[in-house]
Amino acid sequence: MTLATGTTRLAVVQDEPSPAMSGGPADPILVVDHLTMRFGGLTAVGDLSFKVGRGDITALIGPNGAGKTTVFNCITGFYKPTEGMIRLRQQGGETYLLERLPGHDVNRLAGVARTFQNIRLFPQMTVLENLLVAMHKPLMRASGFSLAGILGLPGYRRAQAEAIAKAAAWIERIGLTHRADEPAGDLPYGDQRRLEIARAMCTDPVLLCLDEPAAGLNPRESADLNTLLRMIRDEYGTSVLLIEHDMSVVMQISDRIVVLDYGIKIADGTPDEIRNDTRVIAAYLGVDDDEVAAVEAEVGLAGTSAGTSAGTSA
């Protein structure tokens, strides 16, 4: 039954003229074009196209198993997509096809940083060291690929002092100055989440991909996270793409939301549009499209518009 509705949705999307190009932000930093990822017979992501606007916070949402993390892994070079193109255009006009870059170059050259659903810090290394590892590229160059560093030349010492200053600024920003020299693995969960974001930011990314940054946070920490993400967008001009289940985060800070279900895009728009989209509600509540109106009434969602769109989709 659900599978059938899935295919209907696909048909609806394909009926529109050139879905990847229509609508969306005018100056996208990232264009995902007809992305398909198959694992054997399973299509985790099917013909997905969306854009991430420059300087926007874009949220990728969807029920469990919708293929969000798969999309992330494709964008950040951990998976090679079966089909499709992922184009990143930097401010200066350099364009990278992310699906063709080797894993580490997605960060090193294209400037895409990410965090992980299960936090992946370097647990035995200190908070400061975690951030310094993220500045590998500039420090490596300054240390003459270790040769100048072994000899203790002043150029490297200067670069390291700068890197430490930058790391210290980030540590201050996430409120961990008093624990900077402690192993990262000893920090509480919320601090680890923030540290992982700070570490990703230390690579000077143009696009920051966050995989469920609010998972496991309490409401207060979620609010702090909102502030941090807004700050990243406004002060650094870094575009943010995030996967999130916590709607209080998604609805408050997103400039744009893309909704996935069964690996297929079912909606794409501003938070207000998404909030009233019947297909999204159906996907989240797990009901058929024609039952949406009834369920909406039940949960107290007003909706003349929702009612009509439910009618068209059915």
Partner: protein
Amino acid sequence: MATGSTIGAVAPTVGRRSGAAFAEMLKDSALFALVTLGLGIPVVAYRTDLGQGTGLELTGRWGLVAALCLAMFVLRLGQRLLLGEVGRRREAHRLATLDAVPVVARAGRVLGPLTLAVALTLPLLATFGAGGLSEGRYWIDLGILILTYVMLGWGLNIVVGLAGLLDLGYVAFYAVGAYSYALLSTVFGLSFWICLPLAGLFAAAFGVLLGFPVLRLRGDYLAIVTLAFGEIIRLVLINWVDFSGGAAGISSIPRASFFGIPFTAGEGGFAGTFGLTFSPMHRIIFLYYLILALALITNLVTLRMRRLPLGRAWEALREDEIACRSLGIDTTMTKLTAFALGAMFAGFAGSFFAVRQGFVSPESFNFLESAIILAIVVLGGMGSQIGVAVAAIVMVGAPELLRNLTFLKAVFGEGFDPNEYRLLLFGLAMVCMMVWRPRGLISERTPSVRLGNRAA
């Protein structure tokens, strides 16, 4: 400092609680006294004596019962107080050890220079201790042996301790270094000082060669492939007779010279040039300082590398490879550099081994050597330089010590050879380590850099 506040928080509760606890102790002791009374009444209170006639005469001993009850009360109270004190001490000790990490670090800080001082003055100590240059030879030879393993341990520590790549075939690079010197010097007549860097380079090249195919492997799989690589090198050395002399090995390898001055008697020799009386010990002492210098270079480079981005990337790689990749670190290159650098130091050590022995054969590079070097690294505490040095002293020095325990013959009989129980004792030591210090002798990791902002 967190512990300090914990103690602070605990202390008042202890004070408040002690009154109630004492009352509880009194009650408990009273209960004991009551039980004594209950037992005392039928057993102690009346003594039965044979009277004049056939009847028994009862003598009341209530005073004794009272004394017993009182004694029991006091004893119990004393016991409780004592136990409480012991428990409190133990608790305080536990809390103190939580705070004792700086103490361990301080001990490490003292241990390092102390070991270094002993290492630097060992020839002197041995000469005066044994009462003569030649008599001290045993100790200096032992020092050379230990330092060789210290150097190998430090080299392997880069691969296993820092980069977290389990290498069971490290001895292969040691062999490459040894055969490099042996062949270059016997075939081309190159001097030791030219061969030393070449041997390092060859070993590093072999490290890269091994690194490439195994880059995708991790953990157990990597260990198996490196183990096989070690065996391949050994079997090639045995079977390629034209190249390596086969199982017979290569003998009469030229000895090291003092930067061109040979250690020979007569004109132009080391003793002659410096106006000393000739002694074969000069060469031994020179070799000792040579391996000490090589080991210290290994240590210095490793310590420096830890503070460089590449060294931090090694450690990060050990912690989480996927996170490394997401931060733009080329994991392939990072692993290869770790393999190459570790192998290079093994190559140096190998060429030292060849120049010291004057003879190399595949026998010297079997799996047991790899296992011992790895055991040194693991026992020392992965990534800890001083730990590795201590472990090398224990692992290599202890069997020598065992050889000298002749008094055991008096206990176990004439046929007893303590050295035969070497591996048994190793096994026992390993088990003890796994129980008490599962992360090695020195398991605390020193951060490579500090923000220095220690205020809470």
